[in-house]
Each structure stands twice: as C-alpha cells, then as structure tokens.
Symmetry: C2
Subunit: 557 residues, 2 copies
Amino acid sequence: MNNRIVVIGANAAGAKAAAKARRTDPRAEIVVLDRGSFISYGACGIPYYLSDTVKELKELMSTPVGVVRDRNFFSKVKGVSVRTNTEVTAIDRTRKVVRLREGGGEESELCYHKLVLATGSSPLVPPIDNVTLDDVFTVKSIEDAELLKERAVPGAAACIIGAGLIGLETAEALQGKGMRVTLVEMRDQLLPGVLDPEVAAVVEKQVKLQGVTVLTGCAVTGLDGEGRVQQVIAGGRQIAADLVVLAPGVRPNVALAREAGLAIGVTGAIAVNERQATSDPDILACGDCCETTHLVTGRKVFVPLGSTANKQGRVAGINAAGGAATFAGVIGTSILKVFNVNAGKTGLTESEARGQGFDVETVLSPAPDRAHFYPGAKPILLKLVAERGTGRILGLQAAGEGAVDKRLDAAAAAITFRANAEQLSQLDLAYAPPYSAAMDNLIVAADIMKNKLAGHARGISAREVKRKLEEGDDFILLDVRSPAEHGEIGIAGAKLIPLGALRERLEELPRDKEIVAFCKVSLRGYEAQKILDAAGFADVKFMDGGIMAWPYRFRDQ
Amino acid sequence: MNNRIVVIGANAAGAKAAAKARRTDPRAEIVVLDRGSFISYGACGIPYYLSDTVKELKELMSTPVGVVRDRNFFSKVKGVSVRTNTEVTAIDRTRKVVRLREGGGEESELCYHKLVLATGSSPLVPPIDNVTLDDVFTVKSIEDAELLKERAVPGAAACIIGAGLIGLETAEALQGKGMRVTLVEMRDQLLPGVLDPEVAAVVEKQVKLQGVTVLTGCAVTGLDGEGRVQQVIAGGRQIAADLVVLAPGVRPNVALAREAGLAIGVTGAIAVNERQATSDPDILACGDCCETTHLVTGRKVFVPLGSTANKQGRVAGINAAGGAATFAGVIGTSILKVFNVNAGKTGLTESEARGQGFDVETVLSPAPDRAHFYPGAKPILLKLVAERGTGRILGLQAAGEGAVDKRLDAAAAAITFRANAEQLSQLDLAYAPPYSAAMDNLIVAADIMKNKLAGHARGISAREVKRKLEEGDDFILLDVRSPAEHGEIGIAGAKLIPLGALRERLEELPRDKEIVAFCKVSLRGYEAQKILDAAGFADVKFMDGGIMAWPYRFRDQ
C-alpha cells in the first residue's frame, strides 16, 4: 500500500496541505475528512456574503477562474479524496488510525501513515446568562451566515458583542441591511489587541459617523428574552435587540488533539514545531487549530488568519508527504476594512511592546496617502513603534480612508528583517504622485522616529496633554497653525502664534515654562520646538500627531 | 561670522537640504540660490498640471496644509534665505566662493563654509535634425508645461519621442486634451530600462486601447517644418505633428561641478560618497545632479527621482551643518500610472540582472489584486526575478489595473534586506479580502519561484513557445483550461484537455514528446506538469504566466 495521508479539515489549511502533499508525493493516497458539507471556502469572505457584497455562495468556493472547489474538483484535479459530513471522533496514535462517523452512520476506522490536523477554530461563546436564546448568532460558518441573513430585517435592532475584526465587519454588514446596530465592547476602545487607543479612535469616529451606536467599556452580563432574545444586559443598562451576534473572538479546536494526548501550547492551541509537526512526529497541524511563533518577540502566539493557514498548510502538506519545509512564524499582521476606513497593524502595538518589556518610542504621523495635490488623496494616520537604544522597528499601525495596506506590507517586510528606523527611512519605495508623496508616509514616520530617538524631537501624547489641561498643569499649549485653521477647530486654552510669526514673537512666550507646540499633524509643531530650542527656551515639546491625533475632538467637543 | 551654508538649487533636494541644515545648526546662515523663479515645486507633478489633473500651479508648491512654499515661507518658517533668478556661474573652491548673477545683473560673489549642489537634471535633447524648430517641447519645468498647455489643441497631432515614464505621462495628458497622440520609441518596447518586454506589453496594450498610436523599434532621425515643426521623420516614415515632445530622458546638470574640478562619476553624474560629499569635502551634492549606489549590484547608478532627492537632501543638509548622516543607496524602484494601468519595478529586471552576470530564474504570475470574490478586484501581472543557487530575490516588476504599488513596496523592503524566495514566501502581509487573496500575489509568485528553483516546476516563456510554434518544433502545446475558456481565446495549434480530465485521458498524449501545458495564469499549467511528471511523461513544462502572459494575442491575433 502507498503512503496514506489523512487530513482532518477541508478548508484553507487542510485543502492546501492536501494539494501540496499530492504535488510532493504523486503516489500517496490522500484522504481529507470534513465534518461540514461545504469545503474549501474562504471563511474570511463570510462577512461579505452576509452583507451581499458577495452575492453567490459559490463565489467563495471557487478558484479565481470560477471553478468550484468541490469534492469532484479535488478528486479530478488534485487527485485527493474528500469525504464531507464525516466527523472524526478520535485518534488512536498507537495503532495510527482515526475513528470516524460518516453522515451520522456507524463509526469506522481509517489508518494513516501521516495525519494532518486542520481542525480550525470556533467562535468563543462568552459565559453570560441566557446565551442559548434564539436569534443569538455567531459568524464563522456558511450556515451561520445563512441563518443571520434570514433574520437581518431592516429597522430591527442588532446588538453585536465584541468590537474585534469580525464584530466590526458584521456591524457594517447589518447596518448595510438597514438594521439599527449597537456595538458593545468590554474594553474601552474598538479593536483592542489590534490597535492602540489613539489609532482605534480613527475607526471609532467613522463607525459612529455611519450611524452605529458604539458602547465601549461596557461588559455584557447576560441576555434576556422569552425564547427569542429581546435585550442585552450590559453595564447595568438594557439594550433592545432583535438579534445578537457574539463576536468576542475564536478559540482553536483542539479537543481531538488533546484527547489523543498531543501537546497543547501555552496559548491553548496545538503546539507545533517549525515543521508544523505536533508532539507526535507522524501528526502535523496547520491553520487556526495550532499556535505559531511571533517573530518579533520569539514567543508563542495564537493568531488565526487565512493567510497564515495557507502558508502552514503548504508546509504541513510537504512534510506529510516526505518533503522538508519549515514555517518561521508571524509578526501579528492584521487588517480590516469597515465602512470607508482601512485599519490594521503589523508587529507590536505600543501596549504589546510595553507588555513585553521593550523600552519604547512612538511616532504618530497623519498625512495624505499620496501627493497632496493628486486627486483622491485621503488621510491616513501611522503609528510607528520602535525600541529605544537599538532603534529597531517593533510595529506599525495604520488607519484612515487612504491606502494603509501598502504601508503595513512594506513595514511587515522591514520588521521581519529587523530593520531599524534608519533603514526604514531609506527604503526605496515606489514613488509617483498617484501613489505617495515624494517622502512616503512611512519614510516621514521613520524620519520623525530618528529625530525622537536622537533626542532632537521631543513629543508628548495627546492623552498626556489632555491630562495636563484637566489637572491644570502650568504650561503653555502653543498652536502654531494659521489663524484660519485655529478658528476651524482648536483646543480650548491654546495660545496661537502661527509658525511663520514665531521667530518674531518669541518675547510673548516665557522662557522657563513648559511649552507644548502643536499644528495639524506635528511637523510645524516640531519645527516650532526647534525654533524655540535654538532661541534658548528651556522646556519645549510638541504634541504627537498634532490635532489630527487629538481623539477627544469628536468625543468631548 | 556664523557658519554659512550655500545651497544651489531650491527644489526637492536643495529645499530639503536647507531645511534640514537649519534644524541641525540653528545659528548657521543658510542661503539658497536658484536660477528660476519658481521654487520648491513638485517637478513630478508637472505632467498632472499639464493634464489639468492639478488645476492650480500653487498646489504643486504648497505644503499639504496649503501653505505656499515661497521665499517668504522659507524666510519666516525655515529661517532660510532664498534668492531666486540667481544663477551661479562658477565655484571658486580655493577661495570658497560662488560667483553669481542675480536677475541678469552684475556678477557678485558669495562665500561659503559648506556648499550644497542641488542643481538637478535637464531633459536630454536628442541629436536629430531641426530639433530647434518651434513647437518642440521638453517637459521638466513649469515654464515647459505652461507653453505646452497653450499649444495642446484638441484634434491637433502630437508626437512624443521616447516612451519612458515622462513620455507616457505626457501621452496621457495630451490624449486627455483631445490631441491625436503618437508615441515613438527607438527600442522595441515601451518603458525600456524599466520593464522587461512581457511586462511592458501590459502597458502597451492599455495605451493602444486608449487610442494612442504606438511606434516601437522606430528611431527618429529628424524633424521637419518651416519655423514650426510639421512632421517627425522616423524609421523612414513621416509622422505629421503639430507639436513634438522630446522625452528621451534626462541628464544631470554637472557643468558647474565639472568646471570647479569636482569628480564626475562613471554615470556622468556628480560622484559622491555615502555622506553625499563630493571629491571636495566642503561641497556636498544631492538630488538629480549626483549619482548613487545600487544596493543590489553595488554599482554606481544615475536614477533621478524626487523620493531619492528628498532623502539625499536630508543627508546633505545634516552633514553641511556639521551633523553626521549617510545615504546608503537605491534599488532602482520606479512606478507610473498611465491611463488606468499601474506599472513599475524594484530591484533588477531580468535583462538588467542578466546584464550584471546573475544566473537568473524568473516567475510570471498574473492574478487578481485582491480576493477574486471581492468587488473591484483587478488583474495584475507580477514578474519576479531571483538568483539561482542562492534564491536571492533580485527584482520585482508589476503591471496592471490593480494595486501594483504595494507589491513593489513590500518587495523593495525585502530586496533591500536581501531576502531569498523562501523568506519572501513567508512574509506576514496584511490580509483581508478587500486587500488581497489569502495568499497575496507576492507570496504566490515566491512560492512558484521556490518550486522553480527546486526544479519541481519547469516553466518556459511565452516568447520561447511562440518561437517553437513559428519554427515548427515537434512538441505538444497542451491547453488545460475549460472548453469555454479555450473557445474564448486560444493559441492556434494547442490541444485541449481540461485539467479535470487529464488524469483520465493520459493515453491521448505521447510520453516521450516535449509537452508544454498552459492555462489562464499557469497554476493549472503547473498542476498539469505535476500530473504528467507523476505519470512518467518524460519532458513536460508549463508556459510561464499562462495565456495572460501571452502578449502576442493583441499584436498578432
């Protein structure tokens, strides 16, 4: 008998592993088992199917040229046998067999030489009261989406619990169907774990502008209703809800692995080495069910993503078929589009970096995403995080209506290769006015970072400025914008001296008092700091990111 | 007297150098001299001003917040004195003075402690007959654009000589004004020196679709007309022209430097070290007038670009003011938008790499720029170039209607850090369906490259297939697409066996004859190769990039 490779799970990672195993060993018998009836669909496309952005289910299950990746496709094209509606109930590692039940029938056994676990992840269901009421949904499978689509009635109230990637994408989908949507998040910001608060504020502003009610810092304790859900109990208040979507995150499906005695990692996902092998060398794992290595911290992380699942599936498939491949790890890149905002990160956020013990410097840099004179230029905010001392770039966050993805991708490559701020600032990025300013946003941010790391530029955060104002600190908040800009939107208590007049009006400012300069984005603020430094002022800083990074304007003003 | 820094040239590099010198040394006297009357404008914006995409000249000369960067701005904000209409006629390095003539008046002298040359570049004027006729233009300065705008009359005939970046941008601008545009290029492709032929073909197709007449392989020998130009003589034919634009490239302005005895590099531009210092340590140079180092080859190159000019200006300014900064070099990244096509490259093209003696492997990978099911997905073609043996990525080219810039930027970072194909294939790029497929185009190209470098995948170019067909080679050209795709567009002489039927129809193919499989993009072609390999066929390859990379379809078919 030829080598038999059994793959459990027929979506991103499992399908990729099977296809790659076939190419590696043309003679192996390859069997893929999946408990569902849909296979090889793009789970990341579910929110778009929900919103009718993707009209037909089969689009999610097709190749780019429109061939549906069904059992027949896998059999004819890939030479892989797929058995759907087939649940694996146990793995017997001693005998090297899996026990399975097909279509609810009798249990049978299938032996393997190599086994690939691609069991995926499941939506977390939070431990709250009455979570089993009707019309309480999760968004993970095609079946979920079909049910939710039926119940998404215009004018009805939807409450989404959890403001992560899936929660936000679902909020947009349901808002687009005419529902009244409330987004409830336990943490005090959207996208916790993905973005730092001041970057998440860009997303929150847009989500609110689109009419979604956002409740942050609001822990849900339970649901209420008779049979069907009617309200959500959160932070002492009651939120009317005709349907509820649970989106607090996902957990890896590790029951089979755990019961078979395979090692589970610190993250709760299946532990694998860089060959994607589990603690049993004849069993590999890939995709959402396993953990991986964060290449910035060197620590194990659980970051389930379709992009990673495909890469790991490739490696697991090659190794299962007797080849040799390795997967190094990830750097935590993620991105989402919600309404007209793009937002994401790569590497570590400031809070993650501090949590890992790094001595951190940050830069906030808002600017148009292409030459400001080129039609269609849209603002984006970058937040760059670097390690003091080494200057090593630890992470980038980006949010705004413009092109954030390409800054994340370039930074992802730079971070992977351990670039420092100097190296990042010299990247030869593709420049023409339709694509960026002559100095790309990423280059500008890296230059500011160099100035900060060298002590030339001294920034303080908008949050810190707000605290100082509230606590009545004795300092000068210096607005160096034009009178017109100052009149349009300002910060109460700021003194106006336009940058162009500053050199002539130095006597209006006290030389020994703390001065915090700001402008729209912080470049003139930095220029003001340099002018005042040169004139012998003792304690001058600028506000990071300028008024564009003052998130309080749409909350408190 | 304080340190005096004199900067010659007040555009990208010079303006940046002056501003950065000021921040580095607050007490220095900084004087910028420019022979023109417009300063600190985005020269890269000229084609967009020409096309009325940018309506007002001052938009090109403003900061992103709308402040015009004029003499007053430099004086008040930057503390820099700018003298326009001031031509420097000589540099006396012994006495450390520049001789200058202001507004056509008497010559005077200005001494310097440090001198920064930012003298820029000028359009090449080709050595052809009657090139001084009226209505023969170059496109470099605002004055050029103003003149050309006046003469760009709807219905009139424009002939553009040179199909590089400026030539193509100008073609679009004039076509947009209703002119009948002919583009004449001496080489046998558009964008020679930027793209390999099969990638340039994507651009050529679109430019032709927009109604521009394209004549490649066509050397212009002269112009003809009485006073005003009336026709272009090229390759024996006469092309009627109411105006002519010369766009064969630019040359660095080095006359001042050469006359002062400064070293001129092998490229013909001013030689500088990594501190941007010329052969005279008190004279620095930056921007289009100087050469730089190509970080892939280590050789000196002349690649004038606004992005590089700003980076070099920063370094020259810091060093002129007594600081310490270095500029490492470039990797030849460039990009343009012409009509609805984006096209560019980073690193080396295949022909550049071969010219430098690299043993080269290439991958052509056409695919949608985001998840194929996401609305608005558009095709792009990637061409990846790597070094055999090491797998080192040498270059990426990209062209198409979709997002090519971000693939170039990510590759630029990877190439800078000397990534190999394995590392490129594992980059943690930002994935969600609006931004890319789960496997980004760049990852797919890198995976194919790995397969090719390992000998698993054997591609041959469309050009080679065409040669084989024309010369009547005895081989099977195997189309593994669906009958519908085959019917829509095909290659004469190809045998159709859809991939899904291939395993069952092996007996229809001879086992010892050369077989070249192809599909739309080459993924099924590769799959077919693997199936036939496994079945014992002796000599199977696939056609790189599939029919999407078959450029002959819109030329010969």
